[in-house]
């Protein structure tokens, strides 16, 4: 059982010599990314599902057309990184709540791996994306491709 320290005993932090306070920055990140995600996600949904002909318009040509523009590339890369790190950090919090010892380490590892793989894959897709792949069905290609039949 602990006894009460004498008044004015200097406080010794539980986690000594830690350089970065992950809990504090994680908490701040959830809020900052949350605000940005409201704009990014609802903007994304609005443009894809509401403007133009709505959900019927979404096909390869539609996506390729969007990603031909640096604006939407940056938009989607931002959404990808912010949402995945946000979701990953949220899952980390929940795992820390409910799991202990070895299962906690395993689950944290799985979440980290999933986030890392999806970020790398998604970023590669967005950066190295070719809207006019050779040999593709011409009816699926966006109108600005030389091979397009639109």
């Amino acid at each position: 059982m602990t006894t009460i320290d004498a008044p004015r005993t200097p406080h010794t932090p539980v986690t000594k010599n830690r350089r970065v306070n992950w809990e504090k920055w994680g908490w701040l990140y959830m809020r900052a990314s949350g605000i940005l995600l409201v704009v990014l996600i609802f903007g994304h949904l609005f443009v894809n599902l509401f403007l133009g002909t709505g959900v019927k318009q979404v096909d390869f040509a539609f996506v390729a057309g969007k990603w031909a523009s640096p604006f939407w590339q940056v938009w989607d890369v931002l959404m990808l990184w912010l949402a995945l790190i946000h979701g990953g950090n949220g899952m980390r919090t929940i795992i820390n709540d409910y799991a202990h010892g070895r299962p906690r380490q395993v689950m944290l590892g799985l979440v980290f791996a999933a986030v890392a793989i999806l970020i790398v894959l998604g970023t590669l897709t967005l950066v190295a994306f070719d809207p006019c792949p050779t040999g593709a069905d011409p009816s699926l290609l966006p109108s600005f491709c030389p091979a397009s039949s639109k």
Partner: protein, 267 residues
């Protein structure tokens, strides 16, 4: 005691004496010397509408089963001994009127959650008080004044709410983060840190902010508002926790400056 008072008062009231009614209490019993697991037990008691759950527990203990074990001291909502889970909500038994509950159904009474169960409605409060001690709940001041430490009305107002805590643990034991992570300081410790962090007479704010900036400090809070709902003193617990978070991010409590104009007596 209260029953006597009720009967006397009602004697002169038109319409005759207040009717008693039968209430069923289902209490989660646990005797560590006999039971491997806690179990639920029914009791029927005659109660008046003005009686409280604490009176029902007294009646059971005094008239039906002397082994029923619970804490209470003041019986008037000020000592904080008898926080328990009544119909799934943390309340003080001495402040919960039977008539405010749905008595067509049995009333479920069990110990508060998240702290080690010792017997019947009694839990080990030591982990709770350990967190409380850890935030240094006393005035830290370097000078020894000959007179009182002066404070303006505005300076006093910023921490008025958190001075009302009676350390009943209703908030901490209603917190889902505390249920799964006993290391978390919990709302009550943060409330009592708030009481000194925002006190202009205190000089230990930085130390307490540092303590609560730790891994198991305020950042574990997920703003579920269970604590605010549970507090029998009506303290806005979640708001106090948010104010401590904001103070940590700011690096200081951001107290109002003194607006006192001191006029010497007779001047």
């Amino acid at each position: 005691m209260s029953e006597v008072a009720v009967v006397e008062e009602s004697a002169g009231v038109p319409g005759g004496p207040i009717q008693a009614f039968t209430v069923t209490l289902i209490i989660r019993r646990f005797d560590p010397e006999v039971d491997a697991e806690p179990h639920w037990q029914d009791f029927d008691v005659e109660m008046y509408p003005t009686d409280r759950v604490l009176d029902a527990l007294h009646k059971i203990k005094w008239e039906q089963d002397g082994s029923l074990t619970f804490r209470r001291s003041c019986a008037h909502g000020i000592c904080g001994s008898d926080a328990m889970r009544i119909n799934g909500r943390n309340r003080l038994a001495c402040k919960t009127l039977i008539k405010d509950l749905d008595i067509s159904q049995p009333i479920y009474v069990e110990a508060i959650k998240g702290l080690p169960l010792e017997k019947d409605l009694i839990v080990d409060m030591e982990p709770f008080f350990e967190s409380y001690r850890a935030i240094q709940p006393f005035l830290i001041a370097s000078d020894k004044p000959d007179k009182e430490r002066i404070q303006s009305v505005a300076q006093r107002a910023v921490f008025d709410d958190t001075t009302k805590c009676i350390l009943c643990a209703a908030c901490t034991s209603s917190c889902p983060v505390f249920w799964t992570d006993g290391q978390y300081f919990g709302p009550a410790a943060i409330v009592n840190a708030h009481r000194f962090i925002f006190d202009s007479r205190d000089e230990g704010s930085q130390v307490r902010l540092d303590i609560l900036n730790d891994k198991e400090g305020v950042w574990r809070c997920r703003t579920t508002f269970n604590c605010s709902e549970a507090c029998p003193r009506g303290i806005e617990v979640t708001k106090a926790i948010s104010e401590v978070k904001a103070a940590i991010l700011r690096g200081n409590p951001g107290l109002p400056s003194s607006d006192l104009v001191l006029t010497p007596v007779g001047a």
